[in-house]
């Protein structure tokens, strides 16, 4: 249990009368990569935002490294700093260069000096193969490059886990590959990752577990070969046969 990074129990989220998450139990351990798939509107993004502490749950508990986040006196901002988030739409800060996008959290949140932050940010941009684009503004970068800067921005904070909310959903195919390649490299470096994506190739290759979400619950989960080849619920079978093109 000591190595569980992020977990939740009985997690529920409602918007008004609409119950989006219907009581979810989940945990992810250090070094693991887990992939969430499921139809749109099933609650995947909401789950990520709630377990990533960007929105409070309606009911249930979220644990970060064993501690109940909402009932202890933890500083939520400091926990958020330990949870990296990569969004579906590249949400780079538009008035800052790629380098400054990566630096701002290091300076403002972690209190690094200008030199320290610059060094750390350049090092991280190198990991996503963008060091030569450091001084460009987001508007001058492709969608794939923006998304990689977004990954660097989250990664530079030395988070204990990275959450990805369909990071390639708004990209065309070649840009998707460059982002997926970076994510595979992270998985090889044993960065803990929880990824909502429909890039099944990525899931097959690096996921320790695939979870299928439908209607606010995880319907099934397990190693990729099991969930992808041999889903046990009709709902998952139907979804996967469409996703995989009738495999």
């Amino acid at each position: 249990m000591a190595d569980v990074v992020l977990a939740c129990e009985g997690l529920k989220k409602a918007y008004g009368d609409l119950m989006v998450l219907k009581g979810i139990n989940f945990k992810i351990e250090k070094g693991q990569t887990k992939v969430i798939i499921g139809p749109s509107g099933s609650g995947k993004s909401t789950f990520l935002r709630v377990i990533g502490l960007l929105e409070p749950p309606t009911d249930g508990k979220v644990f970060f490294e064993g501690q109940d986040v909402y009932s202890s006196d933890m500083d939520l901002n400091m926990v958020r700093a330990k949870i990296g988030f990569v969004f579906q739409e590249p949400s780079l800060f538009r008035h800052l260069t790629a380098l400054d996008n990566v630096k701002i959290g290091l300076k403002v949140v972690l209190g690094m000096s200008e030199e320290e932050a610059t060094e750390k940010a350049m090092e991280t941009l190198r990991l996503v193969h963008l060091e030569e684009w450091a001084h460009h503004y987001p508007a001058q970068l492709s969608g794939g490059q923006q998304q990689r800067v977004g990954i660097a921005r989250a990664l530079a904070m030395d988070p204990d886990i990275l959450l990805f909310d369909e990071p390639t959903a708004s990209l065309d195919i070649e840009l998707t590959w460059e982002v997926i390649d970076v994510m595979k490299e992270l998985a090889e470096r044993e960065v803990t990752m929880l990824v909502v994506t429909h890039e099944i190739g990525f899931a097959k290759e690096v996921a320790d577990e695939i979870l299928f979400m439908d209607d606010g619950k995880f319907l099934e989960w397990g190693p990729p070969e099991k969930v992808l080849r041999n889903p046990s619920t009709p709902r998952a079978r139907e979804f996967l046969s469409r996703l995989l093109g009738g495999v």
């Binding site: 958020r80 949400s91 780079l92 800060f93 008035h95 701002i104 959290g105 508007a139």
Partner: protein, 217 residues
């Protein structure tokens, strides 16, 4: 035609007009940003105060406000015996209400994804406003701020009623001295246009250039 000496005489009013306008703009800026931010993030009671301030300031004619400060409130607050200060304060407090609206619109245009990304890095909302939201909102606000400066330059002419020696007052003095009714006011009007147009135009173009550079909406 206006003689050179008359023209130079009128020009003496220009620095006063510009001082009133720019000082009241600065005062409005200092008031406007906190009010705009308060209306976004503060608890309801504070929001109501901020909203009330905007409503009241937008509802009072600025001339009445100036007269009130200078002739009314000066008995209690002696600093308002100074007509220049009364003018700057009246224009500045009203400008705060208008600038707050300009900033509020600009803040809303920045987009929720920016706030969410800042929060996800562990920033507090205040840090997010300071480092992420306001710098972008300022760029979006530039054209609006340009119009606001232009408005203040024109409305600073009300200070003439309090006896401030601004461009309007000088043109009135010149009218009495030369018995010419057209030239002094016409020259003053042209000088006002020469002040307002370049400033508004410059901020407008500066804003568009930055918006393109940063890909802001």
């Amino acid at each position: 035609m206006i003689t050179l000496s008359d023209f130079l005489f009128l020009l003496q009013g220009v620095p006063v007009t510009l001082s009133i306008s720019l000082l009241s703009f600065a005062l409005g800026f200092i008031i406007g940003i906190p009010i705009a931010v308060v209306r976004q993030i503060a608890p309801l009671e504070l929001t109501v105060v901020a909203e009330g301030y905007e409503k009241v300031m937008r509802g009072i004619p600025v001339l009445v406000f100036m007269l009130f400060l200078h002739f009314g409130l000066a008995g209690i607050v002696p600093i308002f015996k100074d007509s220049f200060i009364s003018s700057v304060v009246a224009l500045g407090l009203r400008s705060g209400a208008y600038q707050s609206q300009i900033f509020r619109g600009a803040i809303n245009s920045v987009g929720r994804d920016q706030m969410r990304a800042a929060i996800s890095l562990g920033m507090t909302r205040t840090q997010a406003f300071r480092h992420i939201i306001l710098p972008q909102a300022f760029i979006v606000a530039l054209p609006g701020l340009g119009s606001e400066i232009a408005l203040l330059i024109k409305d600073s002419s009300y200070s003439f009623v309090l006896g401030v020696l601004d461009l309007t007052k000088y043109s009135d003095i010149l009218r009495k001295a030369t018995k010419s009714f057209i030239i002094p006011y016409l020259t003053a009007a042209i000088l006002y246009i020469l002040m307002t147009f370049p400033i508004a135009n410059y901020l407008d173009r500066w804003g568009s250039r930055l918006k393109t550079k940063y890909g802001l909406r």
